[in-house]
Amino acid sequence: MNRPRLKKYIKPEHIKDYPVGPSFEAGFLTSENSGWRTEKPVVNNSRCTACRQCYLCCPEGVIFKKDEVIDIDYSFCKGCGICARVCPKKAIIMRQEKENE
């Protein structure tokens, strides 16, 4: 698996349920970041050449290659817009979230 998935965190009820020492499972994600977004990147697949500049420059790592085109994990995209700005083909546009509701 290339990226960690969401897991359900069960709140400890007793002191013995807590991890021993100040450590915990790596890559344990319990919440998404999609609620941060005001704009959403939308990929125009006919323009995309899969050069992967957006993938390389995404601070979140939510862009990935799927069947020779680019796809986005919207659960963790914060909508910063870096991908749209670095795209040499202008294949990504930022669309207001409310338009999609």
Partner: protein
């Protein structure tokens, strides 16, 4: 600057080792962490001191490093790296990297002594300083790497004093002065160059240090999509430079014939918007002094 045998956008691993973090949208520092870990791979011990990357990466129970990562004391990044390197060696581990990622304050101010010690011992560690030019995590206070003129909460811009009155510390040369095995400066705007340098650092038998310029949209008063462009522009203006130090020699990786407009670079950022003409002239003059010295004394391997 394409590295044909090395790691680039097509050959880099698709695995993500820093995912689901809570950094501000468009954060340059988190891109540094993400890319560095993708170059080094999953067999990497990561040490992060107090600072943005530990604040956004370890929000219990949300733990965003998918590898072995630990928070150190603010001053102790490099000493914890030394400890991990010694322990890994004692355990006879093979094929691993020991990586420290600290901010500008955690490196140039608070963590400098521990870093100096680690370089002195030639411990096999990689130390990356992501430079967002102030203490961003605690609310944009001036650090030793805040440039002249920048407005921070501890160096506000007023009628008499306009922002930071000190110059950015020359951290790269301070580190190089130890006679370190490998040191480099980079910028996330020149992504391929940064990947190459991390890869190079991973092969060094000894201490390596990379000082990478990483814009902070929140602290700098810039749009959230601007980090890459600003990090590119700062190199083009000459206010930041791409260089390496190895075998007792400084090498300038990029030596532009003409610089891009400093005024345009500064005025797009909220932290510099108050600057007056004479301040900008000051900044240009100190840039020119630095470049004159670098061009005279350092060798260059490009255009």
């Amino acid at each position: 600057m394409i590295n044909k045998n090395g790691i680039n956008a097509r050959t880099i691993t698709d695995k993500e080792f820093f995912y689901g973090h809570k950094a501000c949208a468009g954060c340059g520092g988190s891109l540094v962490v993400r890319l560095a870990l993708k170059v080094l791979g999953e067999r990497t011990f990561t040490v992060v001191p107090a600072g943005c990357m530990s604040a956004v990466g370890f929000i219990y129970p949300q733990l965003c490093f998918t590898g072995n990562a630990i928070i150190s004391t603010f001053a102790g990044t490099a000493s914890m790296l030394s400890g991990i390197a010694a322990a890994a060696k004692a355990l006879g581990l093979k094929d691993y990297h020991v990586l420290g990622i600290a901010g500008d304050g955690g490196t140039a101010d608070i963590g400098l002594q521990a870093l100096s010690g680690a370089i002195d011992r030639r411990d096999k560690i990689i130390y990356i300083c992501y430079d967002n030019e102030a203490y961003m995590n605690t609310g944009i206070q001036k650090s030793g790497l805040t440039p002249f003129g920048a407005k921070t909460t501890t160096t506000p811009a007023g009628g008499n004093i306009r922002g930071t009155i000190t110059q950015k510390k020359n951290l790269f040369e301070i580190v190089a002065a130890h006679g370190i095995d490998y040191a480099a400066t980079a910028s996330i705007g020149y992504t391929q160059d940064f990947l190459n340098k991390v890869q190079k650092a991973s092969k060094v038998e000894g201490t390596s240090f990379i000082h990478v310029f990483a814009p902070c949209p929140t602290g700098w008063g810039t749009p959230s999509d601007s980090a890459i462009d600003i990090a590119r522009e700062v190199v083009d203006t000459g206010l930041w430079y791409l260089a390496e130090y190895e075998n007792d020699e400084f090498i300038l990786n990029k030596n532009p014939k003409e610089f891009a407009s400093v005024e345009k670079y500064l005025k797009q950022q909220g932290r510099f918007r108050h600057l007056q003409e004479e301040d900008i002239e000051n900044i240009i003059a100190s840039r020119d002094r630095k470049w004159k010295r670098m061009r005279e004394k350092w060798s260059t391997n490009n255009k």
